[in-house]
Symmetry: C2
Subunit: 396 residues, 2 copies
């Protein structure tokens, strides 16, 4: 048989960082110590109350299929979470439990994207988003964003890039790779523009909960980013149990769906996935307990301390943090003063400094060669060691 | 905002049986006893060694992301399973771990189906398959199958339905809703025809392991259906931990991929799902242990006893089992001697006999009104009670 993959495969890229990771593993098995700053995964284990809830469910035989949109009690718990934590009313009936935020975005684009439709996405941005869209035959259109707009699209950019073929906009707050946030006013302005232009609006909030006050603010002063759920019930909002709740491998997320589309998403979920993981859903029921939240808030404070340590340290080395990193666990650095190709730099840092970071290439085509992402998903002593190694590498 | 779902939604149907289920729950909460013969889910809990392995993994903090195609040790275990149980060599590198068999089929069609491509599927068949294909903009084309070919497509049918637009064929063995099997010779003949016509060939083997000797054969004489992996390494083979391994809610399956497409599927998995559930993968490592297999084989014998009880009992009522049900846990009955509309019949059986079954409507457009599916995922005393109730309803 001739090799004949679907045409979309030509537009879907692998994670470029995986190549570096493979090399990192080689180096490690050869006895080298590598500091991993490329990983988009919290280094904390799943909080114990969540793990215990999973074990109870498994012991109790709660491992059968659930309804396609998830356990009613988990949907209700998320609805309560929106009310109590954000003061926003989101009915449980509009909440779908999904196979991670990835599963949510798959369902959203399956429900909304027609072949040939253009969707606007910020560049740099999380690469999977445009690839998921392409899989459902939509066309991702990049809006190049930079420090001028804190790496977020603006209504003016929307109008500039909007065409007859444009079907909608996807933004992320906190954003990956930059960690920048949108204010509620900014979300409302984007939503209003989408409404005026008759486009859909999807907001990726998977790093919600991981937002930090400015370095100057006293500790314990963290506030949550505003949720797009507060900006209109016609907005699609995606969230995850992976990041703030530290349940990465469980593959669980959720999506807030505009009322009129709930039936469509349910139909798709019935057919495409049957249901999200049942043990994971039972585990997640413990995610909103005060005991769990207390653990998560301690860890959030630790992420903030890491950011506050790492950002100035990288700046001092000439790795300019041009975004305002107020969330997630990444610093997106302009490395153009030190290298004219971030991919080569990333490879060099790995080989010569034992530090793994993610080159801009993985986040789009907006000056990727000038940027490199450092994740602070590792403890401060290791971050300090990394900074020292980078200093030696750059001759500082 | 105007309601504007993607056009594909018009072609994707919900599970019609869900309406009946909602009514069943109403009746049950009103104190009525309903015998559930509509459920496509084993009534056995996940075997204890599998559950224990999951708990060990969770306690050990093994809940982080895995590689996109799954844990290397689980891929290796499946490779060993193919060698030891089927005598077929399938390298671990060709095996992808997926979010259930649904996740496997999503990846297969994402990798293979171009917009407008036609794919041939047997009708009656599992409805999600054509809806997943439609989601990736392929066009499902039904091959009506009946008792003449034991509800399986033949090479002659392939030639009859093949057009310039046809990209491939999907078959299932054991099939749902009929439980019929393909012999290795039949699989080879279909594969050869696909090769000649330059089409892809996908075989759904999610009910593998649940196959039964004829009623006359002594117990304990069950043999496995042949796997399509033995018929060529250009065949895509999908399997699941849900049915034989009784891990439904864990959402874990796998796919054997032709070598040249492994990289494509990996790229897609990286972008669309990140990885399958980590606790489920660790759980599944215990699925191939002799202790687990012993439990599963006992349960398989029980399924066979149920089939051997139920099939003649339904026949005696005039519900003709025109397929040879050698696998899965379904009997697909021709009810045309008793009713001219199986959907009305299913509703009536629920209301008046307290028996829930799935009307043909859920399996395609090939005389659905004449057919109804009974699942034997409930114990023999309950099946006997159902038969009695049906007898009273039909006045036998």
């Amino acid at each position: 048989m001739t090799y004949r993959p679907a045409r979309r495969l030509a537009d879907i890229e692998p994670f470029h960082v995986v190549e570096l990771l493979t090399r990192a593993r080689q180096l490690e098995s050869g006895g080298h110590d590598i500091i991993h700053m490329e990983v988009g995964e919290p280094d904390f284990p799943t909080p114990e109350p969540i793990a215990r809830a999973a074990i109870r469910a498994i012991e109790g035989g709660k491992t059968l299929y659930t309804q396609a949109l998830g356990l009613p009690e988990l949907r209700a718990a998320i609805s309560t979470f929106y009310r109590e934590r954000y003061g926003v009313a989101v009915p449980a009936g509009r909440i779908a439990i999904t196979n991670g935020a990835s599963g949510a975005l798959n369902l959203a684009f399956a429900a909304l994207a027609n072949p040939g439709d253009e969707w606007l996405l910020a560049d740099p941005g999380y690469p999977c988003n445009r690839h998921i869209l392409r899989t459902y035959e939509g066309c991702p259109v990049s809006i190049p964003v930079g420090p001028e707009s804190n790496f977020q699209p603006t209504p003016a950019m929307l109008r500039q890039y909007w065409t007859d073929k444009t079907a909608g906009l996807l933004v992320a707050s906190p954003a990956n790779p930059t960690g920048t946030l949108l204010t509620l006013a900014q979300i409302e302005a984007l939503a209003a523009t989408c409404r005026e232009l008759q486009g859909h609006f999807i907001v990726d909030e998977i790093y919600h909960g991981l937002t930090y006050a400015p370095k100057e603010a006293p500790e314990g002063n963290e506030t949550d980013a505003p949720t797009a759920c507060a900006a209109g019930n016609d907005i699609w909002v995606i969230n995850s149990f992976s990041k703030y709740f530290q349940m990465t491998g469980w593959r669980l997320g959720w999506m807030v769906i505009p009322e009129t589309y709930v039936r469509d998403v349910e139909k798709l979920a019935q057919n495409l996935t049957l249901c999200p993981s049942t043990p994971a859903q039972h585990a997640a029921l413990a995610a909103f307990e005060p005991e769990t939240i207390a653990i998560l808030e301690e860890r959030r404070a630790e992420f903030r301390r890491r950011r506050d340590f790492l950002a100035p340290a990288l700046e001092a080395l000439g790795l300019r943090v041009t975004a305002r990193p107020e969330g997630a666990f990444y610093l997106y650095c302009d490395c153009s003063a030190l290298s004219d190709d971030s991919y080569t730099l990333a490879r060099d840092l790995l080989e010569k400094a034992g530090v793994a970071a993610t080159p801009g290439l993985d986040f789009g085509s907006n000056a990727p060669e000038k940027h490199i992402r450092f994740a602070y998903t590792t403890q401060i002593p290791r971050l300090a060691e990394a900074v020292e190694r980078l200093g030696r590498y750059f001759g500082r």
